[in-house]
């Protein structure tokens, strides 16, 4: 049978060696351990010997050729019985011993769980035992719950891909990725509302008769909306003097020299609050034009922060709502809201009958640190009276 | 009081055939011995006063030999003393104040309270701060001498000298063997002072080595061996200065073995009851013996010797007074790093 002679691993570091000279010619009979070939490693000149007696049938590398450790140098033809040794057969490639190891062909060693169990411990089993068989929540999953606002009870609806159905951090990411990301505008609104909500806010309300206003708007160029009347009325009421005509910074109350007002405008995924400056100096027609301009700019995304206005007007009535408590923007102390106009019965003592009247709810949400209910009530009444007597505007 | 640098005596001139013949040198030798003894005594008292952390290790009984070693060195030489070398350290240039500060662990000491007592040193003057592992300092001295050779500084017939101390115990450490052999192979200007004080902590010579005399080992290493009576001050000066002179001339490593007795425990904590009266009776105290000799020869009077003691005690008292008022290290102020590179990422070849 044919037996290969391979390049041995000479020394701890050798990766290859160069054939220098053959000491035996092909066809020659060689004894076991007879020197066959000289090879040069990085470190020294060494000889490779025959692993068994036989005939050198082939030289596989000429002098000068570099071979890697484990490469075949030559083949020996050995007698059949020479390849066996008693009951146990000699490995076909005896020179494999000493060449680079072929770990993957070897059976995995059975590692005994000795005193140091940590080398092979199963973390999952250890953790599960400690958590009393309840569903295990890894530290990363727990952190993701906190960050996302999900509750442990929400996990019941999430399919787990880990061992025994455990929910992994990836599962949560995947679950949340199915939802839609908040748009930047939505996130900005969310942040502003959260910041605003840290203040003590109070809301007051009163109804306001709208008949005079609705008649009056037909006489004004551009037919101003209820929003325009509210802005104008709020500007005049603030200008007349009220503690809420200011903005609070730290413990300093700053009163702006002009009344700048923002107006809440709904866009696709949020609310914009473009600002109109010096509202107290603008008549209703002019204000109508300007508000249309800033709303158009706002919708085009060309509007900047509204934070420096003193208040905002929110006409939630346009959505058919009759009553709401909008939240003032951070940095502003109040927001005036007006609901949808509705028909109400009005007792006419002259005719002793019910007439139809039109009315809307006027709401004012304010920062209670700046002023109290009295001042806010006087302001809201001032606005209401102006709206009921639009000719004064 | 500012710490005063002490003058290094210049005695080991290669021309001085018998340095001990100079009375002046003999008096200075006794002065170093007494200063070391007085300092050791005071450190023991400070320990009793609980002013010194750790133990106190004294060189009692070894002053004559140790001081001779320090006196034969000069600025530029290297000295690696061990625990019983108070006298040699002082003679080589260690200041009293640094001894006191280091024993107290003061922030102002050369070791800044990070290390203490006999581990002190001053690399600026070539005084190596020993580590506790016996024999370890010898190869370091060899390395310093080799560095000087690399730099072309070891030429001529007046070489700088490296000196290390070892005892009958340390002579059996592997590190000592490696290093002494290496110094001999490199033919370095090196002197090994072996103090055979009979006892390695509590183990006597018969359980530490089997050769007739430690000096017999010299020939095995290929170094020149010398012996002397370590209780005889004059013999110590003569023998050590001869060995040092040979080294300076380029004759290669020398080994001196002095026979003496440790007149104290291993440290202050050790009453050394294992030292028998019989053994004690065979060895004198080098300071008493030398004081007597100098008196008999008319070189010093009792009053002179008393003045030397008084002077030593006065200087030590002043140093103790100063050191006691100096700050201890402050854990909050300490620079807690063992690395001299502040940011390894900035190291660039």
């Amino acid at each position: 049978m044919k037996l290969s002679v391979r390049m041995p691993q000479f020394g701890e570091s050798a990766a290859e060696a160069t054939v220098v000279a053959w000491l035996v010619t092909p066809g020659a009979q060689v004894a076991a351990e007879q020197e066959l070939v000289e090879v040069q490693t990085e470190k020294s000149l060494l000889t490779v010997a025959a692993p068994a007696a036989g005939i050198l049938s082939e030289q596989c590398a000429e002098p000068g050729r570099k071979l890697a450790v484990g490469d075949v140098l030559a083949y020996l033809e050995v007698a059949g019985e020479a390849a066996t040794n008693g009951s146990s057969p000699v490995p076909a490639d005896v020179h494999d011993i000493g060449t680079a190891p072929k770990a993957k062909h070897l059976p995995r060693p059975q590692r005994r769980p000795a005193g140091d169990a940590s080398t092979r411990e199963s973390g999952r089993a250890a953790v599960r035992a400690a958590s009393g068989e309840s569903a295990f929540i890894s530290p990363r999953v727990r952190a993701k719950l906190l960050e996302s606002g999900l509750k442990v009870s929400d996990l019941a609806t999430i399919p787990g891909s880990g061992a025994d159905g455990r929910i992994t951090a990836n599962d949560i990411d995947h679950y949340l990725s199915q939802g839609e990301a908040m748009s930047p505008v939505r996130q900005a609104v969310a942040n502003a509302m959260t910041r605003s909500w840290t203040r003590p806010l109070a809301t007051i309300a009163r109804p306001v008769r709208m008949d005079a206003l609705l008649a009056h708007r037909r006489t004004v160029e551009g037919r101003p909306s209820a929003t325009i009347y509210c802005m104008r009325a709020l500007a005049l009421a603030l200008k007349a003097g009220n503690p809420l005509a200011c903005r609070l910074f730290g413990n300093r109350l700053l009163t702006p020299s002009t009344i700048d007002l923002a107006v809440a405008v709904e866009i696709t995924d949020g609310v914009l609050t473009p600002v109109v400056r010096k509202v107290e100096e603008l008549d209703l027609a002019r204000l109508t034009t300007l508000v249309e301009e800033v709303i158009a700019k706002g919708r085009d995304g060309r509007v900047s922060d509204a934070g420096d206005a003193v208040a905002t007007i929110s006409n939630y009535g346009t959505f058919g709502l009759t009553w709401a408590t909008p939240i003032p923007l951070p940095g502003q102390g109040l927001i005036l809201g007006i609901g949808a106009v509705k028909n109400v019965p009005d007792w006419n003592p002259a005719t002793k009958s019910w007439d139809r009247a039109r009315e809307a709810e006027l709401t004012l949400t304010f920062d209670h640190r700046i002023a109290d209910g009295g001042a806010a009530g006087r302001l809201l009444n001032g606005v209401g009276e102006l709206l009921e007597h639009p000719e004064r505007m | 009081m500012k710490s005063q640098p002490q003058k290094l005596p210049q005695i080991a001139s290669p021309k001085a055939s018998d340095p001990a013949s100079t009375n002046d040198i003999r008096v200075r030798h006794l002065t170093w011995m007494i200063l070391a003894r007085a300092l050791d005594d005071r450190m023991c008292k400070l320990k009793a006063q609980n002013l010194v952390p750790g133990s106190v290790f004294t060189g009692r009984g070894q002053e004559a030999y140790s001081a001779a070693g320090g006196m034969c060195l000069r600025p530029g030489d290297v000295f690696a003393p061990l625990i019983r070398d108070q006298a040699g350290r002082l003679a080589f240039g260690e200041t009293i104040i640094d001894v006191v500060r280091t024993c107290m662990g003061k922030r102002t000491s050369s070791m800044r309270g990070r290390d203490g007592n006999i581990h002190r040193g001053n690399l600026d003057i070539g005084l190596l701060p020993m580590i506790s592992h016996l024999g370890a300092m010898v190869s370091v001295v060899a390395g310093m001498l080799m560095a000087r050779r690399f730099k072309g500084q070891l030429v001529g017939n007046d070489l700088t000298v490296g000196m290390a101390s070892i005892g009958d115990g340390g002579m059996n450490a592997g590190a000592l063997h490696e290093a002494l052999n290496l110094a001999a192979v490199e033919k370095l200007p090196f002197v090994l002072l072996v103090a055979n004080n009979q006892v390695a902590y509590s183990t006597f010579n018969d359980r530490t080595f089997a050769c007739r005399d430690l000096v017999d080992r010299a020939v095995g290493y290929g170094v020149c061996g010398h012996s002397c009576d370590g209780t005889d001050a004059t013999a110590c000066l003569t023998t050590v200065s001869d060995a040092v002179a040979r080294v300076r001339r380029g004759e290669g490593p020398q080994m001196v073995v002095a026979t003496l007795l440790r007149l104290a425990g291993h440290g202050l904590h050790d009453p050394a009851e294992y030292v028998t009266p019989e053994l004690k009776s065979r060895f004198g105290d080098c300071i008493q013996l030398d004081s007597n000799t100098l008196k008999v020869q008319g070189i010093l009077t009792d009053a002179d010797i008393e003045r030397i003691w008084d002077d030593a005690r006065t200087r030590i008292a002043a140093a103790v007074e100063q050191a006691m008022h100096e700050p201890d290290p402050d854990p909050a102020q300490e620079d807690w790093t063992a690395y001299s590179e502040r940011d390894l990422k900035k190291v660039r070849s």
Binding site: Q9, E12, S13, A14, A15, E16, E42, K43, G98, A100, P101, A103, R108, R111, A114, S118, T119, R124, A126, S138, P139, R140, R142, A143, A163, R166, T168 | R112, R114, H119, L123, P129, I131, S132, H133, A136, M137, S139, V140, V141, A142, G143, M144, M146, A147, F150, K151, A175, A179, N181, L182, A338, Y339, S340, E341, L344, K345, V347, R348, S349
Partner: protein, 325 residues
């Protein structure tokens, strides 16, 4: 040009001798035409007969010589024939070199080149990994290059470093690892920083020295057969440890496997896992895992040897288990 790992060390050593008269090489059999047990100093020893010197077989005294020479301003580079033999010098390394700066304020710039790691047939005393023992002691810098470029740059930087550097060079990589290397173009990473050898999102694989190559192979297997994307980190420097790179990666992937050729107890892998467990706890989605050599001395027979330390297949299995948690 193509350079073997060992040749990169030789190149760095030769250049250091060329550039800096303070550098000298001291070790067993390094001098003359012989050029050292592994031939690292071959060629350069003949150029510098006065600065590449043979030492007696005195591993402890060699280290003492280096410390003394460093105190005198030299830049000694010690060559130990095998890191295993440097245990004799442990006292000088940890008690003397490692304490020098703290005790005296004086730097001790020595470099000890330690041929580490196992090769088939090396056996218990020619195969050990010393980085755990050495890195436990403050004051020593411990590096373990895994690439040709690192072998070159880290040796030069080690010689430039003011602190004692234990330079662990892997014997198996000496001739088995070859790479294109151009020192003017190759990336020169600083000491003290780890390197991300393969970016990935699913699991962080941490190793150093020869084991980096097993981790890279494991990452390939996992990518090819299982679609698992591993990030492979080469620590490069054991002491100080680049905690930032480790934590950044683990915080992203949430899973970590550390593979070392050295033993498990109190080892570098244990240190990394302690770091991850305490500093990145809330980012972990699976128990951090280590894979070390079996807790017995390094065996002689190649089959036993191959089974003794982690390889790519076993590392891949560990990652699969971690991913399945």
């Amino acid at each position: 040009m193509t350079l073997a790992y060992l040749e990169a060390i030789r190149l760095a050593l030769g250049e250091s001798l060329d550039e800096d008269p303070r550098v000298f090489v001291y070790g067993q059999d390094v001098a003359g035409a012989f050029g050292g047990a592994f031939k690292v100093t071959k060629g350069i020893a003949e150029r510098y007969k006065d600065r590449v010197l043979n030492a007696p077989i005195s591993e402890d005294a060699m280290a003492g010589v280096a410390i003394g020479a460093a105190l005198e301003g030299m830049r000694p580079v010690l060559e130990y024939q095998f890191a295993d033999f440097a245990t004799i010098a442990f006292n000088q390394f940890v008690n003397h070199a490692g304490t020098m700066f703290w005790r005296t304020g004086r730097s001790c710039p020595i470099v000890a080149r330690l041929p580490v790691g196992g090769t088939p047939g090396g056996g218990p005393f020619h195969s050990q990994m010393p980085e755990t023992w050495l890195s436990n002691h403050p004051g020593l810098v411990v590096v373990a290059p895994a690439t040709v470029a690192d072998a070159y740059f880290m040796l030069k930087d080690a010689i430039a470093c003011q602190d004692p550097v234990m330079y662990c060079e892997h014997k198996y990589l000496y001739y088995h690892l070859k790479a294109e290397f151009d020192k003017t173009r190759a990336e020169h990473l600083p000491l003290g920083s780890a390197a991300v050898r393969r970016p990935g999102d699913d699991c962080t694989l941490i190793s150093y020295s020869g084991m980096v190559h097993e981790c890279l192979r494991a990452a390939e297997i996992l990518d090819r057969d299982h679609g698992i994307d591993c990030e492979v980190i080469d620590l490069r420097c054991i002491r100080p440890l680049d905690t930032e790179t480790i934590l950044t990666s683990v915080c992203r992937t949430g899973r970590v496997v550390v593979a070392t050729e050295s033993w498990p107890f109190g080892g570098v892998a244990a240190e990394v896992l302690a770091l991850v467990s305490s500093e990145a706890f809330s980012h972990l989605d699976a128990p951090p895992r280590r894979l070390c050599a079996l807790d017995v001395p390094v065996p002689f027979h190649p089959d036993l040897f191959a089974a003794h330390h982690p390889d790519a297949e076993r590392i891949a299995e560990a990652v699969l288990e971690t991913m399945a948690f």
